[in-house]
Symmetry: C2
Subunit: 326 residues, 2 copies
């Protein structure tokens, strides 16, 4: 475990434990099958980053109630719901080193349990009795589905632009990070300025997080990553490292890359050639440096807050986003 990760985990250990308890207690499924499927996606080594961000955002905003952990489940349920649906949409095989739920229980069950988790997320959101939080949650859901639809529509299209990529990751990832931080501020009732600062922190962090996620698809190995390396490309998803390199590649290299990408059954060897091409045109360096910029912006967003342990933790999480290996 990296040093930074270790330090963060030490600081948030008891928060994470309480989030875990809240996730179990708020689930309330009527049927064993729902418990099984929801449990498969919810309790399989997720990082709990989203609920943690809400808890920390509430704390830095001066929240002194006792419902932050309960409310933070909103964002883990929402996240789990979209994972269930996305694995089906993407025809993925592995998630966190385990077969995806729909491959075990079938598409119908995965769709319905995803709906159930989404409903749970809303039910908890309704418990906040804060229309702004509910608006945030419905907004996230809307953006995420549209982001996924956009991605689906552009699957396999080699002319996907960087601008489109940015729009997709905004919708499918950044808006959720933004919403979870913003909701922490909202339950604390902090000033609009600080609420905005936390929203911005979450948004920029989310963008960086997704960029690093997309990078990992080209750098990690399956055992560490818990899913197939190159899975994005096999699903026809072009992400920034490829998009950037394709744009600046010589016609000949571009054709070489395109031929590998078009054959979604590419070999390990092909994939290595592709990575060489990506590196030749700085696709990974560019993505990493852009992610670094977004992390810097995320951290800058917190400047309106006085120094505190919580602020430090949020800054450390931002830094960790860049160095994570899975």
């Amino acid at each position: 475990m990296s040093d930074l990760k270790h330090k963060i985990l030490e600081r948030v250990k008891s928060d994470l434990e309480e989030i875990e308890v809240a996730l179990e207690q708020n689930l309330n499924p009527y049927f064993d099958l729902v418990s099984q499927i929801a449990g498969h996606i919810l309790f399989s080594g997720g990082k709990r980053l989203r609920p943690l961000l809400m808890v920390l955002s509430a704390r830095i905003s001066g929240y002194d109630g006792s419902y932050d952990k309960v409310f933070s489940t909103i964002f883990e349920y929402l996240h789990a719901a979209t994972l269930l649906h996305d694995d089906l949409v993407d025809e993925a095989t592995l998630r966190r080193g385990k077969p995806v739920a729909n491959s075990i229980w079938g598409n119908p069950a995965a769709v319905l349990v995803g709906d159930f988790l989404l409903a749970r997320s809303l039910a908890v959101a309704a418990e906040t009795k804060l229309p702004e939080v509910i608006k945030v949650v419905s907004n996230i859901t809307e953006h995420m589905s549209q982001g996924e639809i956009h991605q689906l529509m552009r699957k396999g299209h080699l002319d996907l632009t960087e601008a489109e990529y940015m729009e997709i990751i905004e919708h499918k990832t950044a808006v959720l990070f933004q919403g979870t931080c913003c909701s922490g501020a909202l339950i604390a009732g902090v000033s609009p300025e600080k609420t905005k600062a936390l929203s911005d922190y979450g948004f920029n962090l989310g963008i960086a997080f997704q960029m690093v996620d997309d990078l990992l698809d080209y750098s990690s190995d399956t055992t560490v990553l818990g899913k197939e390396v190159g899975a994005d490309l096999k699903e026809g998803k072009l992400t920034l490292p490829v998009i950037y390199s394709l744009k600046s590649a010589s016609p000949r290299d571009r054709t070489l890359m395109e031929n590998i990408i078009k054959n979604t059954n590419f070999s390990v060897n092909d994939f290595e050639v592709l990575i060489k091409m990506i590196d030749k045109y700085d696709g990974r360096t560019y993505t990493q440096s852009l992610a670094t910029q977004y992390v810097r912006r995320a951290k800058e967003g917190l400047s309106v807050f006085n120094n505190s342990e919580t602020k430090e933790t949020l800054l450390m999480i931002a830094d960790y986003t860049l160095s994570r290996k899975f």
Copy 2:
């Protein structure tokens, strides 16, 4: 068109027109594909019964604002979302005489557009700024997904009991009708007694509506119904007419019926034999009489309201539920 239907439509003509406009205006999809798929399910001859019930419930509760039509879209979007997901879950072929969305655009798009419609429903619910309404909507979603999961788990099981059937239709249908009527009362801010009365009206109407729906699967023909006759059974769904008859059938007749049901590819001839058996053991009469009881209860629920044109319309809708042909 039946006389009763004609009378109801005359009374609610302008409401239905305004609901239609609200449905279009609140949709706001970012992509053509979403418009197409959402439009396929939303604008294909739905009865708009759910939003209409909200509008009428608000009116009988003295609502004098101008957002009832907008808010009523919550329940049509929610309904459409579940239809998209259910058609995928059920592997249905036809809906309202048209191929189901997932057979045209594929499962991934149908799942995501369903999620989008669910999110739209919530976004409009959040606009009410009434936590109670939002709680109702999240409750409905939760119940519906669990009802569908229950049905999925018991698919093809010949020992499904009447009690289980009741539980399933409560969750998958009645809770939505209940919620739409209840929300009408909530936006009007009427007394808890009247809110409860409208909730009960909706709940009982929903039960009756689903029973008649299940009956139609054994009585109508494909052209009128807009979907395959006997489709429920082909999908392995046992509904009350069959459940009731199976229970009281002689061992020999029961075996005969079970053999037809187990073969989900049964012929038209087999289906006719099955209907004869159902009628021999009063499965349809029983279902119809139970639906009639629920309609009576629905109407009784409205006794706390003074007579008015709106009350009459709600009573007529309850009666119509029993006589509808599709």
